[in-house]
């Protein structure tokens, strides 16, 4: 089974966020680090929204097939983590290479936001 994100929106968001990071990193503003954090959150949320169908299919499909709730949670969280890391690591590297080492925490933030939305989706199913 492939864990790579299937939604084209994920890769559009990746291209957008990486390009924007390059643009932002070339300007010596004090708010660049904060701006990159905001962009990371927005990127993860937009990808989550765009790829909601796949996550819901995963939850429904696993549940119908008899997966225990913890397995459903594991599958959804794993998919989300892979997606968030793909989205956040390249821009983070761009920022770090440009001298903005604060950008290295972006993957952690992306995973945190992504996992929170994934937990919310799974919780809705078992509420």
């Amino acid at each position: 089974m492939s864990l790579l994100p299937s939604c084209r929106g994920t890769y559009y968001a990746l291209a957008f966020s990486t390009t924007l990071s390059i643009y932002v990193a070339t300007y010596p503003y004090e708010t660049v680090a904060l701006l990159s954090l905001v962009l990371t959150i927005l990127g993860v949320l937009s990808v989550d929204y765009a790829d909601r169908t796949t996550v819901n299919q995963l939850i429904e499909g696993f549940t119908i097939c008899g997966a225990r709730p913890r397995y459903v949670l594991f599958a959804v969280v794993l998919l989300t983590i892979v997606k968030c890391l793909i989205l956040s690591i390249p821009p983070s590297i761009v920022l770090a290479v440009s001298g903005l080492e604060e950008g290295l925490i972006n993957p952690l933030l992306a995973v945190a936001v992504g996992v929170a939305t994934a937990l919310y989706e799974v919780r809705k199913r078992y509420a």
Binding site: T54, Q57, E60, G61, F62, T63, I64, C65, G66, P69
Partner: protein, 198 residues
């Protein structure tokens, strides 16, 4: 009471509660009151883990929108219940290919589900529901998204399954033509089931 190997049809207008009834039997929803006994298990008394085991081995459920994971291949969708049951890879693949041969989709095994037609998706959903040889198969509006030619093929497949595997099949539909393929039929009206004598 529904006996082993029977095909029972439940029809009624939209909003009558047909889907809800199936979901209650599958343990996907809880009833307000009463008991549901499936193969000796009182579904209403089971916790989520026990319900998961029931869906994995006793009850196969086919939702109206097929419930497939579109980005996975046909094989990956059909083998999911077997993977969850802990079956090893070689045995899983052998069982899945047998099922795909049975339903006539062996040539599409490695294709992603999103590229299949509605009729093919329906048959994949049926194969997945059958993979752990459940005693009961629940089908929610199995012909709703199909033209009558494909619908007929699906209903004939249900008849074959009932005969070959002695599986009890419960089909809900608002289409009265579906009821010609069942052994017994009921009408769901105002929250109650009324037997329909043929």
């Amino acid at each position: 009471m529904i006996h082993r190997g029977e095909i029972v049809g439940i029809h009624g207008p939209s909003g009558a509660g047909k889907t809800t009834l199936l979901k209650i039997i599958a343990g996907l929803e809880k009833p307000d009151r009463g008991d549901v006994i499936v193969e000796g298990y009182n579904v209403c008394m089971l916790d989520e883990n026990a319900l998961a085991m029931l869906r994995n081995s006793v009850v196969g459920f086919i939702p109206q929108d097929y419930g497939l994971i579109e980005e996975l291949t046909v094989i990956e969708n059909v083998e999911l219940p077997l993977l969850l049951a802990g079956m090893d890879r070689n045995e899983r693949r052998k069982r899945v290919m047998e099922l795909l041969e049975y339903i006539g989709l062996a040539d599409k095994a490695k294709q992603k589900v999103k590229y299949l037609s509605g009729g093919e998706k329906q048959r994949v959903a049926i194969a997945r529901a059958l993979s752990n040889t459940p005693s009961v198969l629940l089908a929610d509006e199995p012909t709703a998204n199909l033209d009558w030619e494909n619908a007929r093929k699906v209903l004939e497949l249900f008849q074959r399954i009932s005969r070959d595997f002695d599986t009890t099949i419960l089909v809900v539909s608002h289409d009265p033509r579906v009821m010609e393929y069942v052994h017994r039929r009921y009408e769901l009206r105002d929250g109650k089931l009324y037997p329909v004598l043929s």
